[in-house]
C-alpha cells in the first residue's frame, strides 16, 4: 500500500499518477452517461460504439506512423470514429426499427475488423491488445488534457439536457407529441456516449469499457429511485472501482483494466445478492 503511494508521488514513474487522474476524471461522465445508457436500455448500442472505436484507432495509427503525422493521435481517431459510429447507429435505430440489432451487430464487427487491418499494416509492431484490453502505460499528459476538455463538455451537456433526456427515456412518443425534438436529443445522447466511451479506452480497453459504463449505474439503480441520485452514486462507484483497481493491479502486478472490471463485476454480483436476499 505504502509502495503505491510512494509510486504515486514518484516523479520518475508518472504513468501510475496519470492513470489515477484519468480514472478519476472519467468517473464523472461515466456516472452521468452510464445512468442514461442503463435507463434508456441502449447498452448494446454503446457496446457497438465502443467496439467501432478500433477503426479510428487503427486508421490514425497507420497514417500517423506511415506518413509521420504527429498530431494524428490514436485518441483523436478514436473520438472521430466513435462519433461517426454513434451517428450511424442512431440513424439505423431510428429508421430500421425491427432490423436494428442485426445492423448494429454488423457495424460492431466491421468497425473492429477495419481497425485490426490497419493496425496489422502499420509499420513497426503495435499490439492490438493494448487497445482492446487497455494499457495504462500509454496514457500521456496530452490524454489527460483531452480528457479534461471532454469531461467539461459532457458535464455541461448532461446538466443542460437532464429533463429532456428524462422525458425522452421515459416515454419518447409522448415527448415527441409535446414538441420535443426527440431524434435530436437521441443523437446528442449517443454522441455523448461515444465521447465517454473514448475517455476510458486507454485504461480499460475497448472490449471491457462497456462494463464500466453500465455496472455502476446498475448497482446504483438497485438502491436509488431518482435519476440524479443514481448518477451521483455511479460517479462515486466508478471512481472507487478505477482507483481501487489501479491500486490492486499495482500491488499484484496484474493488468489494470481487467482488475477494475473484475472488481466492478464482483461488487455488482454482491449487490444483486444483497438486493434479492436481504432487501
Amino acid at each position: 500500500m505504502g509502495d503505491f503511494f510512494a509510486a504515486l508521488f514518484n516523479p520518475s514513474i508518472p504513468f501510475i499518477r496519470y492513470a489515477l487522474f484519468a480514472g478519476l476524471l472519467s468517473s464523472i461522465p461515466f456516472g452521468i452517461i452510464g445512468t442514461w445508457v442503463t435507463i434508456k436500455r441502449i447498452s448494446y448500442l454503446a457496446g457497438a460504439i465502443a467496439h467501432s472505436v478500433l477503426a479510428g484507432i487503427g486508421i490514425s495509427l497507420y497514417f500517423g506512423t506511415k506518413y509521420n503525422i504527429p498530431w494524428l493521435h490514436p485518441l483523436l481517431g478514436a473520438l472521430i470514429s466513435a462519433i461517426v459510429a454513434a451517428l450511424l447507429i442512431g440513424f439505423v435505430s431510428i429508421k430500421a426499427k425491427e432490423r436494428e440489432d442485426t445492423v448494429i451487430g454488423a457495424i460492431w464487427a466491421t468497425g473492429m475488423s477495419l481497425g485490426l487491418l490497419f493496425i496489422a499494416k502499420t509499420p513497426g509492431y503495435i499490439s492490438p491488445m493494448t487497445y482492446l484490453f487497455g494499457n495504462i502505460l500509454i496514457i500521456s499528459q496530452t490524454d489527460l488534457i483531452l480528457l479534461l476538455i471532454l469531461d467539461i463538455v459532457v458535464i455541461i451537456m448532461g446538466f443542460l439536457f437532464y429533463h429532456q433526456f428524462q422525458a425522452m427515456s421515459f416515454d419518447e412518443e409522448f415527448a415527441r407529441i409535446r414538441g420535443l425534438k426527440t431524434n435530436f436529443y437521441y443523437f446528442i445522447l449517443l454522441i455523448m456516449t461515444a465521447i465517454t466511451v473514448v475517455l476510458m479506452t486507454t485504461i480499460i480497453g475497448i472490449v471491457m469499457v462497456i462494463a464500466l459504463l453500465t455496472i455502476p449505474a446498475a448497482i446504483a439503480g438497485f438502491f436509488a429511485k431518482k435519476i440524479w441520485l443514481i448518477m451521483l452514486i455511479s460517479v462515486g462507484l466508478t471512481a472507487l472501482f478505477t482507483s481501487s483497481g489501479l491500486l490492486i493491479s499495482y500491488l499484484t502486478d496484474l493488468p489494470a483494466g481487467s482488475t477494475i472490471i473484475l472488481i466492478s463485476g464482483v461488487v455488482y454480483l454482491t449487490s444483486v445478492i444483497v438486493k434479492k436476499i436481504i432487501l
Partner: protein, 279 residues
Amino acid sequence: MEEAINFKEVSFSYDTVQVLENVNFTINRGDFISILGPNGGGKTTLAKLMLGIYTPNSGKVFIHGKTPVQNREIIGYVPQYSLFDPNFPVSVLDVVLMGRINNFSIKYSKKDKIYAEKSMESVGISDLRSKPYSDLSGGQRQRVLIARALATNPQILLLDEPTANVDAAIEYKMSTMLSKLQKSMTILLITHDLGFVSELVNKVVCVNKKVHIHPTSGITEEHIKELYNDNMRIVRHDIKEDNLGDTEYRGPEISRKEDNLGDTEYRGPGISRKEEEAI
C-alpha cells in the same frame, strides 16, 4: 358547434394490411366520445393518426382545423401505463412535469410547477407526488399519466384504454374524474369496456376497419340486450363499495359469451344503423 377533430376520407395501411378504410367523421368540441372496437380493429391507429405519429395513406385529418403535427400539442395523450418500464427511476412529480417539457428549458418554471400541482390535484394524487413511480399500483400509474396529460393544459384529452388492467373500483373513480374534466375539454376514450362507456359518453365511434359514429342518447340496457342477444350477456353491478364510494356503480358491463368468441361479427355497441338514422 365548432369542430374538434375531423377525418376526411382517411385510409391507412401497414405495409399491405389495410387498417382503416375511407374513414369520415367529425367530433365536436366538448363531446365525450368513446372509441370502441375489437382488438386489431384500428382504435390505436386512429389515435396515432390524430397525434400525427402516423400519416394517412390518403385523406386528411384535422385537429381544431389544422394538421395533427401543427396542432397535436393541444391533445393531452394518455397511453397505456403497461407500455412503460415499471422500474423507471422517477418520482410521480417528475412524470407529471414531463407534460411541461420543452426543447430548451434547463429548469421547469414556476408556471410549469403550478400546472403540475393542479393536475395532480384533479386526479387525486397530490399526496403521492414524491413517491417513486415504480412503487405505485396500476391504477395509480394510470392516474399519474392522466395528470401528465392534464399538465399540458389540453383542449382534447385522448385516453388509450385507461381501464385496462385496473379493477372496477378504480374504474369507477376514473369515470367520476372524467365527468368533471368533461366540462373543460373534449374527451376521447379508447375502450373495450361498454359498461364504462354508457354513463358518460354522448357519442360512440365504432372502429373496425371502417368507422361509424353513433349518438348514445337512446341507449338502454334493452337496446344492448337486443343488439347482442345471444353473443353477449349483461352483468349488473349494483354494488356499494364501502371503502371507496359514496355512490353506486350502476353501469352495465357486457361481455361476449365465451363459446361464441371468435366466430361472431363485431356489430358495434349502442344503436343500430337504422336507429341512428331515425335519430
